[in-house]
């Protein structure tokens, strides 16, 4: 008699909120997760990014409007909030950029996909993007 095969577990999709917190999160996973989050952020903020491109480049008058958005505020939002959004986007871009280069490197080099190098390059990505964000954020908020 053939035994009825035990129903094997099927792994299809991630139940984001149920499964993700239970995972082990080494540096490479954090870098990868942040890559996804930063990408989503850039996607959602696209109208704001194009608005910045539009107002900063269209004319002298709109350029002045662009600058005042960061100092006096935009619509109902105070300038600080606009700057904070810009800061979040600066981080998102830097992380997505550096992490993206890391992925391209790993796609083209076997040396880049070792366990050790994967861990250290992931840590470098996270730290470098945060440090650069701090430097540019200080400039954005007029600290130097």
């Amino acid at each position: 008699m053939t035994e009825i095969a035990k129903k094997r577990p099927e792994f299809r999709n991630i139940h984001a909120f149920g499964d993700l917190p239970g995972y082990r999160w080494p540096a490479a996973s954090i870098a990868s997760g942040m890559h996804r989050i930063s990408g989503l952020l850039l996607f959602l903020a696209m109208p704001f990014i194009i608005w910045m491109f539009d107002t900063s480049i269209s004319s002298e008058i709109s350029f002045a409007r662009f600058r005042s958005a960061f100092n006096k505020g935009l619509w109902i939002f105070p300038g600080v909030l606009v700057k904070l959004l810009a800061l979040a986007l600066i981080w998102a871009y830097l992380h997505h950029f550096i992490c993206g280069l890391r992925f391209l490197w790993m796609d083209t080099s076997h040396a880049a996909v070792t366990k050790q190098f994967g861990a250290s390059s992931a840590k470098f990505t996270i730290v470098a993007s945060l440090l650069l964000t701090l430097v540019l954020g200080a400039k954005l908020f007029g600290l130097y």
């Binding site: 996804r36 996607f43 696209m46 539009d54 900063s56 350029f63 992925f103 391209l104």
Partner: protein, 121 residues
């Protein structure tokens, strides 16, 4: 003829996903080049960058071509990435389809706006 669809669908062979995967890499490389070009030209500008110098960066035809190609690359890149996100986290087929459609409309609309701005300079 042998059935090759449904559960017997051939899942290897003819670029199921490879095309999008490689397109995401190629578009990423183009956007990285664009970033470096803009950054280099920005940093090589002498003196404070006001409206004239900033708008001047995008005035030339060569830069317009690069920027336009980058906008199109961004459109495709964001499409592949958002499709990955919806496919990973959104299970109900109807909701997922709606989000995919909205993503396309949103991205094409944004790309159109960016292109319009580019040719205003």
């Amino acid at each position: 003829m042998a059935v090759n669809y449904g559960s017997r669908r051939l899942v290897v062979g003819a670029h199921y996903g490879v095309r999008d995967w490689i397109a995401q890499r190629v578009t990423a490389a183009l956007m990285a080049i664009f970033t470096i070009v803009v950054l280099a030209r920005f940093l090589l500008t002498s003196g404070p960058v006001g409206y004239d110098k900033w708008a001047g960066l995008f005035a030339g035809q060569g830069m317009k071509m690069l920027t336009f190609a980058t906008i199109v690359a961004l459109l495709y890149h964001a499409w592949v990435g958002m499709r990955d996100i919806w496919m990973d986290y959104i299970q109900p087929v109807g909701v997922r389809l709606a989000l995919l459609i909205l993503t396309i409309i949103y991205l094409v609309g944004c790309a159109g706006w960016a292109v319009q701005v580019l040719w205003r300079v």
